[in-house]
Subunit: 152 residues, 2 copies
DNA sequence: CGTGAAAACCGAATCAG
DNA sequence: CTGATTCGGTTTTCACG
């Protein structure tokens, strides 16, 4: 479904999602038209589901990040935590996990006080216990996909 | 540094980072020129540090995600784990954290076997113990920044 | 599935108001 | 910041290999 050329296009557009077709064409070594056709297909088949800027969290007033693991208070309930939490915009990611807890959240807030409020909101909204791990420093995230990637 | 209008631009371009200045202009209610000026400033001041596509991990052949917490074997060593690990393209994010372990990694691999190999690579490269939490399902991540955001 | 070229469109840059 | 202008680059489409 996605061949080696598609991967090269994904690598190129991953370095700069606002790159023009001509720029992608250069990097990939295909004609502009071919790149356009393939890129459209990558979008329509759901390989690429959107484009986002990488925004400095501090500039948005949210310098504090944390992982929050949550566990249902009552193990025998309709477990719809993700839907119950999706309205909280401070939650950037929500994964169900195999481990000590049921879900792992990644959140960003403005201050410790806001983190406290968010944790309370999460507990109330999803009927869960929480275990929070504060992020002290982020060394990297949102990396472009590696040219070459893992050894194949 | 970033006022309310900048936030609106960030929200708009967060929904589609390939949007044209005219499209952003519509959403924000400013002229194209003003949007252009502000967007350039957001880029040059480091508020926006790049643009990325949102790519389906399965399409890239990496359906398995995990969190890996790492702890130095020897607490009295030059702690340069992030640099020692940055060459591993399977590691998407690396945060230092306050909690049971020193760092939290987020990784994506093709298979359990590749995860095993990655964990070994991490242990050898950074002289650390690891604690891995497998992701069973991702409900959301890479969400556009919320129109309105947290209640102000 | 790729190329290349023509035509329509859009973005960058500039400037007066 | 707006609105207008100009130029150059980009997207799009299409005929062809």
């Amino acid at each position: 479904m996605t061949d080696a050329v598609d991967i090269r296009i994904l690598e190129a557009i991953s370095a700069d999602a606002r790159a023009t077709l001509a720029q992608l064409s250069d990097k990939v070594g295909l004609s502009v038209s071919a790149v356009q056709t393939r890129l459209r297909k990558l979008e329509s088949t759901g390989v690429i589901t959107g484009y986002r800027p990488v925004v400095d969290p501090e500039a948005l007033g949210k310098p504090l990040a944390a992982f929050i693991e949550i566990t249902p208070l009552d193990p025998g309930q309709p477990d719809d935590a993700p839907e119950r939490l999706s309205h909280l915009s401070e939650i950037e990611a929500c994964h169900s996990v195999a481990g000590d807890s049921a879900y792992m959240l990644f959140v960003r807030v403005a201050s410790p006080r806001d983190l406290e409020a968010l944790i309370r909101d999460i507990r109330l909204a999803a009927s869960v216990n929480t275990r929070t791990t504060i992020v002290l420093q982020t060394f990297f995230e949102n990396r472009p996909i590696a040219p070459g990637g893992p050894r194949d």
